[in-house]
Subunit: 118 residues, 4 copies
Amino acid sequence: MTAPFDRLYGLEVLDHGAEVVRAQVAVRDEVKQPAGLVHGGVFAAMAESMATLGARRPGTTAKGLSSQTSFLRPILDGTIHATARRRHSGRTTSVWEVEITDDDGRLCALVRVTVATS
Amino acid sequence: MTAPFDRLYGLEVLDHGAEVVRAQVAVRDEVKQPAGLVHGGVFAAMAESMATLGARRPGTTAKGLSSQTSFLRPILDGTIHATARRRHSGRTTSVWEVEITDDDGRLCALVRVTVATS
Amino acid sequence: MTAPFDRLYGLEVLDHGAEVVRAQVAVRDEVKQPAGLVHGGVFAAMAESMATLGARRPGTTAKGLSSQTSFLRPILDGTIHATARRRHSGRTTSVWEVEITDDDGRLCALVRVTVATS
Amino acid sequence: MTAPFDRLYGLEVLDHGAEVVRAQVAVRDEVKQPAGLVHGGVFAAMAESMATLGARRPGTTAKGLSSQTSFLRPILDGTIHATARRRHSGRTTSVWEVEITDDDGRLCALVRVTVATS
């Protein structure tokens, strides 16, 4: 179900439906940037994978059209927790908002992803 | 110079200065999403690494504040080519625009990254 | 309280605190674009005014750093309803998410605004 | 050619083709926010109007799908100068980047607009 890139950085999908997808990534050195924080690309990758997973239907493919991440608070260790919620469904696109939190439940990043299905 | 996450997905920095950073990633299965395209998170990761590399000064750290990616054309194989250009320098932030192209020079993604230095 | 530009397009602030700001604009011809829909710039303007209003403290000024709008469903008449919620407070910035709905309560636009206070 | 909202805030289109659109707005009190700067909603409005103007073809309508503005330097007086350039053309969407400068040619805002034509 997860993609090669998702396996590379360690995405674990906990739960997924058409409206909500939950997933996590265990923090380890190889997801970090030089200052020792989780690399922002990991948040963007998680959000896109989760949104396209939620948007996909049998017989369709889904791909990201755009992605906007605001980095609010660094994550240094523990687990990256993410919840994606569908906010809009159009004919060929859907819009998802993804919240990234740390082990203490603090909001660390917000990502909005627009997905095209075809 | 590159970070653990950059080594994981294969970032190669070709050239970097205070105004322009050039880098590439060789496409292989492990940077792909389920439909066989390069995963959008790879573009976001490249852009953030390149912008923070360009923004960093001796004795400072740089981290992403926000990142906005528009996916324009999928990349399926070959090499992902990226050029980051500084568009603005504030007192504590800089804004970078990153163009991602394929082996035929076609524009595949645009990323705008805002970086904080401290 | 509202600014000259807010008076020009007709912002009415209904309620504002440090965490939530509610406002509306009555739809009339002069807030429309050529196809007869409310102009997207109106949503962006409302969101920025509401976020800076919520972020401002006595003796400080607040201004927008970035703004990202997703247009989900056009509004043609009635009233534009908007609710801004603070999602993050940093030392000098705050991040707000603004939901725009129509008279039937349907989500029409999502705006994320980052505000600097000084 | 300009829309009611464009007349309200004073958009003057100088030049428009399928690839580049140039326009300006004279700064006056009624386009300002409370701190005396040009309101960010004006930049977003200009960018969306210019991108949809460039994207529109005879017999089609164009509307904004998303808009992302980075505010780099305030404008207090003079003229707001804007140039929109088409960066991508898909089957039903196009992506435009808009640069906003002041009378001294300094970059004051960057806007990326995605437009749908139908």
